[in-house]
């Protein structure tokens, strides 16, 4: 069975959840082999094996962290040349997409970015599913030239432990980053305060607030509800444009695309650009004063009312039920 390379996403020695999702997806196409750029492969090996990784290519260099995208693309291109894998899967994160693009150029291959699903087609070749135009159109696409490079959206595939998981062989890779790949140097970094809330893109539940929250102060009730539900916080563009909540939490056409199990939209009218970022959510609950708000057209459950009275009561109810 042909190998399928998976570029591991990891930070501070911790394997990011999307890596297990990629291994799960890779197992549908062939034999998953994780490519680990940077230190920490040995410590992660067992967990990767549990999801079906047969091998871990470990390039221990610390340089992968010092330059943007290019060294990882170079490492993958080198492994593609040496191992002739059936496909390469990366996470459709900020850097993952860029690594995918550069790898595609290096290997003369087709790249499928932001896939929400991956499966083997009738001929065994990968077929990627995309949710285009904010989920309005479902597209299945294939790669017709080179080694398929697929960037898979975090949270789109459920990570599943392998039924017959064995041990993953650790294969040290002697790879040196070229001078050309060291052109854009990372000279500093700053981690955003994340707090205890789950990551917006990966959260099972997202609670979003819109113009109806009224102010930065009024938006706080959204955070309170999110915390009661163990959810991530999102915001509509009206809110981030007004400066009531930081821009990186914007859900919509020009912000994040989310597809959680539950999406609660409070004080959000549901303009087409907002729906493009959340309409593939499994369950949608809407709270809005305006009975004509388009968000009600796509909500599984809607309450016409003032979020400032409905949400506090909802939080009380949640606390009561949780005992």
């Amino acid at each position: 069975m042909a190998e399928v390379l998976v570029l591991a996403e990891h930070a501070g020695g911790q394997v990011r959840k999307v890596t297990f999702e990629l291994v799960t997806a890779a197992a549908r196409l062939g034999e998953p082999a994780v490519v680990w750029a940077g230190p920490g492969a040995e410590a992660a090996r067992e967990r990767l094996a549990a999801f079906g990784a047969a091998r871990v290519y470990a390039a221990e260099s610390g340089e992968f962290d010092q330059y943007v995208a290019a060294p990882k693309a170079e490492l993958l291109a080198w492994l593609v040349a040496g191992r002739a894998p059936a496909a390469v899967l990366v996470a459709a994160t900020a850097e993952g997409r860029e690594v995918a693009g550069r790898l595609a150029v290096k290997t003369g291959s087709g790249v499928l970015a932001d896939a929400v699903g991956v499966a083997a087609g009738p001929d065994g070749a990968p077929v990627a599913e995309h949710a285009n135009f904010g989920g309005a159109v479902t597209v299945h696409a294939t790669v017709t030239r080179g080694t398929p490079v697929i960037a898979v959206r975090p949270g789109a595939v459920s990570a599943a432990p392998a039924a017959a998981a064995g041990a993953a062989e650790l294969v040290p890779v002697a790879f040196t980053v070229s001078g050309a790949a060291r052109a854009a140097r990372i000279t500093g970094r700053e981690r955003a305060e994340k707090g205890a809330r789950p990551d917006l893109a990966e959260a099972q539940i997202v609670v979003s607030g819109g113009r109806g929250t009224g102010s930065a102060d009024g938006f706080k009730v959204i955070e309170e509800l999110a915390d009661a539900l163990g959810a991530a916080v999102g915001a509509s563009r009206a809110v981030t444009d007004a400066g009531w909540y930081p821009h990186q939490f914007q859900v919509g056409q020009t912000g994040k695309t989310v597809s959680p199990q539950l999406y609660v939209a409070a004080g959000i009218s549901g303009a087409i650009q907002h729906r493009a970022g959340m309409q593939t959510s499994k369950t949608i609950v809407a709270i809005n004063k305006d009975p004509q708000a388009p968000i009600f057209e796509i909500a599984d459950y809607g309450v016409v009312g003032d979020l400032h009275t409905v949400i506090p009561q909802l939080i009380d109810e949640i606390r009561k039920r949780k005992g």
């Binding site: 693009g101 087709g110 790669v143 030239r145 500093g188 796509i298 009275t309 009561q313 909802l314 109810e317």
Partner: protein, 258 residues
């Protein structure tokens, strides 16, 4: 400084966007607008030229209508336009698009290429990095802030986790994220002036593009099938009669969310 801003004309996100029978984006039907993130790229190019001297060239690849996007950038203040326009380019995927743009960029020359981080139609976000790879210049992508000093460029890169400071020597490719600046509106004077600014229209052959590597036929990816997602069915909508929160809680409990 020679600044080239890449812009794409895309279907308006407020319209009903469609794919054509062959799986390519319908660029004839809905109203075309400048890709929103590219407006930030144009503004950033203009600001850098204003602060450091130099000229801003706007480059667009697309059908005849994409000339509107070039004109818009010129009315904002860009100095000249290059419109890569050829039937043979229609349906190009990211590999083909990056190849075609890189061919033009190699010919017209640049100190700094600025792109929007992604387009609202395809949203692949891969083209700026692919341009850097093809042009063998540093990639300073997802910039929330750009500083030029002497022959080097430093950006504040917005990542999923926070920020990075990234530096490189020019020439380079930069991509910008939303909110890096406040794009200016074209003034009446700007719109009038834009009419007199030079726009060069290039065919694929004139740009030295191998037709086998572009267009739908030259694409390295293919759409197998597509389907419009069935519209969501509206569910239950109730009025808050002092019990709205309790009603939502009951619904969430019924679905095992609480």
């Amino acid at each position: 400084m020679n600044i080239v801003v890449c812009v794409k004309q895309v279907p308006d996100t407020a319209s009903e966007r469609r794919l054509r029978q062959d799986g390519t984006v319908d660029r004839a039907g809905p109203e075309g607008v400048v890709n929103e993130l590219d407006e930030y790229a144009i503004e950033e190019g203009l600001r850098i030229a204003e602060a450091h001297g130099g000229e801003v060239t706007v480059l667009s690849m697309g059908p005849g209508r994409a000339a509107e996007a070039v004109r818009r950038a010129l009315s904002m203040g860009a100095d000249r336009g290059v419109h890569l326009c050829d039937e043979a380019l229609a349906g190009s995927d990211a590999l083909g698009t990056s190849y075609a743009l890189a061919q033009v960029l190699g010919r017209i020359g640049f100190d700094l290429v600025i792109c929007g981080a992604e387009s609202t139609d395809a949203r692949t976000g891969v083209v700026p990095a692919m341009l850097a790879e093809r042009l063998s210049v540093p990639q300073l992508t997802l910039a929330g802030k750009v500083d030029i000093e002497g022959g080097s460029v430093t950006v504040r890169r917005v990542t999923d986790e926070g920020y990075q400071v990234v530096s490189a020597a020019l020439p380079a490719v930069v991509s910008v994220v939303e909110k890096i600046n406040e794009p200016r509106y074209p003034s009446f004077k700007g719109i009038m002036a834009a009419r007199k600014k030079p726009v060069q229209t290039l065919s694929a052959a004139e740009a030295g593009i191998d037709p086998g590597q572009v267009g739908l036929a030259g694409a390295a990816t293919a759409v197998a099938d597509f389907a419009v997602r069935p519209p969501r069915q509206a569910g239950v909508v109730v009025a808050d009669e002092g019990d709205g929160g309790a009603k939502v809680a009951a619904f969430l409990a019924g679905r095992k969310f609480i």
